[in-house]
């Protein structure tokens, strides 16, 4: 298969998405069909690409010298691209139903579809320059999605998001320049591109630059102290919070940190340095911090967003362990958390869509009226807590296996943090389920007569996610085996 397919899968959704406001759709249904067709086509092409695995790189264009926009497919990219392309069509399906009540659908679906292409761009980047460009683009194309409702709150949230992301990218830029100056190439090479000979006496700079770069890229993964944009961005319509703020955007942040740690700087120069310890300490702190904020939060979507903050740091924790096992843990949590969190967000969205209730204390008795949604919500809570049999346990197990194997005392603290976080997760998630299913003896069910399960367009993705959670939880061998073979090259 020709490597030009990379450019096709990235540009197709970007261009086709940009056309949405221009095309004269007869009605809403036609727009839906068009959008879903584009998304499905892209996903189909991505699957084809992943199966055929073109070896060579594709250069879209050169800026100058060795600076170019170029794409290549490797193991890490496969995971991210595969994950995104599975979830996007499902999320779009859900969005069609959901966005009925939000309005401005053409603009929304334009940016929603463009974002797909940009995210694939990050997954398929061959070098750090390309990745950086798409990373910046991702900020810009997702901004209007957060601003969607144009309320004061939404505008403020999008402003915070913009400042944080651009600021983070600025720090990441420092790292990029360093790699361009001292790396043997700007491409991603397993094990890194720095060499002691070229670095010379600049070697002592590596930890500092890495620290800045990692922290910069992980702003999108909501690492402390730059985590507050994520819960604020919860004002966006639910398909955005679910897909972008639980999967695409934030996982892009985590993905970029994997790239720079294992493929640009290389763990050889970083393992055991102060930079690793500082970042690990911050990440371990974020794991607990995110959960404690989730516990305090009474707004349902914001609570889930804080939980995402914590879970993203699980992934970063795996990354910063700087062992192949750690990367296996990080990648598995990237996949499994995506499935779990998108599912719980969709449940929250279903509640908001059907009833307009936003706060946890308004959900008393809802489980009796929306048994399917809350049943699925409970299952996703259990998965998030890491109950064995569901996928959350597998990724936690992999992360901890790596942490224990690293024999690093700070990593042991990380293990403890993961478990504290699991307990807090149990508290902030299950208290919702208990409230919903057991409103108490004196609860008057007639106050929630209007509450009911949504239609199939919203339920179908939920059911599929539950199946995935059980599948990965009970039969994780193939997936984890594949991840292990990906990281074996490191």
């Amino acid at each position: 298969m020709n490597a030009a397919i990379f450019a096709v899968v990235i540009l197709l959704p970007i261009l086709a998405g940009a056309l949405i406001p221009l095309l004269p759709f007869r009605n809403r249904t036609w727009m839906m069909v068009y959008t879903e067709a584009v998304v499905l086509l892209t996903s189909g092409l991505v699957f084809l690409t992943l199966l055929n695995r073109p070896e060579e790189a594709f250069v879209l264009f050169r800026f100058t010298g060795n600076l170019s926009i170029s794409f290549r497919l490797d193991g890490l990219g496969t995971v991210f691209a595969g994950l995104v392309s599975v979830l996007w069509p499902l999320a779009s399906l859900y969005a069609f139903e959901y966005m009925k009540h939000e309005g401005h659908e053409k603009i929304f679906f334009m940016f929603y579809t463009i974002t797909y292409g940009v995210t694939l761009g990050i997954a398929l980047s061959e070098d750090i320059v390309t990745m950086y460009c798409f990373y910046e683009m991702l900020t810009l194309v997702t901004l209007p999605l957060i601003m969607h409702t144009l309320t004061r709150e939404a505008v403020l949230a999008s402003r915070t998001y913009l400042y944080y992301s651009l600021g983070g990218a600025a720090f990441a830029f420092i790292g990029m320049i360093f790699i361009l100056s001292y790396g043997s190439t700007s491409n991603f090479v397993p094990g890194g591109v720095l060499s002691a000979a070229v670095l010379g006496d600049k070697r002592s700079w590596v930890p500092l630059i890495f620290l800045l770069c990692f922290w910069g890229f992980s702003v999108k993964a909501a690492l402390f102290p730059f985590s507050s944009w994520l819960p604020q961005a919860g004002v966006a319509p639910t398909p955005v919070t679910a897909l972008l703020h639980a999967v695409a955007v934030v996982k892009a942040g985590a993905f970029t940190t994997m790239r720079i740690t294992y493929y640009s700087f290389g763990t050889e120069f970083l393992k055991g340095t102060w930079a690793q310890y500082v970042l690990m300490a911050v990440i371990v702190f974020t794991i607990v911090y995110g959960c404690s904020r989730a516990l305090k939060e009474t707004h349902l979507k914001r609570r889930l967003a804080w939980s995402t903050v914590s879970n993203l740091s699980y992934i970063l924790f795996g990354v910063i362990l700087m062992t192949p096992l750690g990367l296996v843990g990080a990648l598995s949590h990237m996949i499994f958390h995506a499935v779990i969190k998108i599912c719980s967000f969709f449940c929250a969205g279903a509640v908001i869509y059907k009833t307009g209730r936003n706060y946890v204390h308004e959900l008393n008795g809802f489980g009796r009226r929306m048994p399917v949604v809350f049943g699925i919500f409970t299952i996703s809570s259990l998965a998030l807590m890491g109950v064995p049999g569901l996928c959350g346990f597998i990724s936690k197990w992999n992360l901890v296996r790596a942490a224990v194997a690293s024999e690093n005392p700070l990593a042991y603290a990380g293990v403890a943090a993961l478990l504290i976080s699991a307990l807090l997760t149990a508290i902030y998630m299950l208290s919702i389920s208990v409230r919903a299913f057991f409103p108490g003896r004196n609860f008057d069910m007639s106050t929630i007569q209007d509450v009911e399960d949504p239609n199939w367009m919203m339920l179908l993705p939920l059911v599929l996610f539950v199946i995935l959670m059980f599948y990965f939880g009970l039969h994780s061998g193939p997936v984890v085996g594949a991840l292990e073979s990906i990281t074996a090259v490191l």
């Binding site: 009796r368 048994p371 259990l382 807590m385 890491g386 109950v387 064995p388 049999g389 597998i394 197990w397 901890v400 296996r401 224990v404 194997a405 024999e407 042991y412 293990v415 403890a416 478990l419 504290i420 699991a422 307990l423 149990a426 508290i427 299950l430 208290s431 208990v434 057991f438 108490g440 003896r441 009970l474 039969h475 994780s476 061998g477 984890v480 085996g481």
Partner: protein
């Protein structure tokens, strides 16, 4: 043959889920409350499923060391069932007591309502418990341990009052906390043990573990604390006196008689079958464990002594009594472990009897406080006799059963090389036995001898129906008889103890 092991696990789980689902759909159709006919069908169905599964579980358990690998959860970690001595003992006790409580609750639950939900969950929990006792490795055990918490939680909040819901949440979160502490240990044991399959004497790899003793001991201590939550050991015991009393009485009996023992089972499995007792012998972990267990024994009895509400008093008593078992386990000696296992069995029968009696009193009269029970012996003498026999057994008056287990516990402590605990342990056990007499006997005394209280009291007979009384009498009888003929048990438990120590 070994495939049959799945039957007593999944039959009750599926049947129970079936009942739950049908009750949910019935509710959506706004069907009226259970008719008498439907109730009889429900009872017959639950009883049939439970009896079939229980008989099957016991028969399978005693027909040899079966094992079965179900599937691989992860690459090197299967969901693996294996029946061995410990599992055999636990599954037998659980099945017998569970069935007896079930028969009792057919009558009792009439006045609580929500019977479909109750019996559905009751069956599901039974399946989970059987799976827990059949578990052959640590991860499988952990899986069913978590499921046990999740499925038994709704039993606590059954009556739907605010108090019950808060108690259920407390139970849930304490148990989760415990489970995660346990998981912390499992993570480290996975790294430093040659396998997570239960092996008498442990699988800890001395070569791998050398140099990491410090963190391993911390991990093991975390497991003890964590699984100790279910067993009501200090410092995480507080859920137990909150959750057990608010549950409907059959559920309290099941929780106090059986579910707390699963914490004990988890501790036995991790200490004696994975870590190996020699690794913690003489370390700070053993010392702290003994201190915590003895403190719990004493504090539990003290708190029970000054507690006016009967069910709460019994719950505190459970806190205290389970730590007898834990103390026996912590001594790491054969005799003490035999005593601990004996106490597991005896306490299951005794405490479920006591809770069921408390339930009968609530069912017939609505009284909950001890001081309101004056003259109970005139109203329901047979019930109070059951209570009295069980009390005698719990205090440890020969020949009732508690005496035998306590004898072995004390002797084991004296034999073991555990420094000052050799005599401190038995002393605390004795003091606690006195307190036990102090908090249990007043009910019997004032029940049978109410004294003359001014106005001439007219006691009206209100003995409960036989379907309620018989299971209680059976359990009470077992509590006494097992003490009269303890030899087969002692021998069998001695063998188990010898195999792991």
């Amino acid at each position: 043959m070994s495939g049959l092991m799945l039957l007593p696990v999944f039959l009750p789980i599926l049947a129970g889920s079936g009942i739950l689902v049908s009750s949910v759909t019935a509710k959506q159709k706004k069907a009226p409350d259970l008719t008498e006919e439907a109730r009889n069908k429900l009872h017959l169905f639950s009883a049939a499923v439970l009896v079939v599964s229980a008989v099957l579980a016991i028969v399978l358990a005693w027909s040899g060391d079966l094992s079965l690998t179900l599937f691989y959860l992860m690459k090197d970690i299967p969901v693996f069932f294996h029946i061995d001595g410990i599992g055999r003992v636990f599954v037998t006790v659980i099945s017998v007591v569970w069935t007896a409580i079930c028969i009792y609750s057919f009558v009792y639950m009439k006045h609580e309502g929500g019977e479909c939900r109750f019996f559905g969950l009751y069956l599901v929990v039974y399946g989970v418990l059987v799976a827990l006792t059949f578990s052959g490795n640590l991860v499988t055990m952990y899986l069913f341990y978590e499921l046990m918490t999740l499925t038994s939680m709704p039993l606590v909040l059954h009556n739907g009052s605010r108090e019950a819901i808060m108690a259920a949440l407390k139970y849930l979160f304490y148990s989760m906390c415990g489970a995660y502490l346990g998981l912390f240990g499992i993570f480290f044991l996975y790294r430093y043990c040659s396998s997570l399959t239960f092996t008498p004497g442990g699988t800890l790899d001395p070569v791998l573990a050398s140099g990491h003793e410090g963190i391993l001991l911390i991990a093991i201590f975390a497991m003890l604390l964590g699984f100790g939550v279910k067993a009501g050991m200090l410092p995480l015991h507080a859920w137990l006196p909150t959750a057990h009393p608010v549950a409907p009485s059959p559920a309290s009996a099941a929780l106090s008689g059986i579910i707390v023992k699963c914490g004990v089972l988890a501790i036995i499995r991790s200490v004696y079958y994975i870590v190996g007792p020699d690794f913690i012998r003489g370390t700070w972990v053993q010392t702290t464990w003994m201190v915590l267990a003895l403190m719990t024994v004493f504090l539990g009895s003290m708190l029970a002594f000054r507690e006016p509400v009967l069910k709460k008093r019994l719950a505190y008593s459970t806190v205290s009594q389970i730590s007898y078992i834990l103390f026996g386990l912590s001594a790491l000696s054969q005799t003490a472990m035999t005593g601990a296992l004996l106490h597991v069995v005896f306490h299951a029968f005794i405490k479920s009897t006591l809770f069921l009696v408390a339930g009968i009193v609530i069912f017939q009269t609505g009284r909950t406080k001890v001081e309101e029970l004056r003259g109970l012996g005139k109203e329901m003498p047979k019930t109070l006799w059951c209570y009295t026999f069980a009390s005698l057994a719990l205090i440890g008056i020969p020949p009732a059963s508690g005496f035998v287990s306590k004898w072995y516990l004390a002797q084991g402590a004296l034999e073991a090389e555990i420094g000052i605990f050799s005599w401190l342990g038995p002393v605390v056990l004795l003091v606690s036995a006195l307190l036990t007499a102090g908090y249990l006997f007043p009910v019997t005394m004032h029940g049978f001898f109410p004294g003359k209280s001014g106005a001439q009291n007219v006691w009206k007979k209100q003995e409960p129906p036989y379907r309620m009384l018989l299971p209680v009498a059976f359990l009470a009888l077992m509590a006494v008889l097992l003490g009269v003929f303890p030899n087969p048990l002692i021998q069998y438990f001695g063998q188990i103890a010898a195999s792991v120590l």
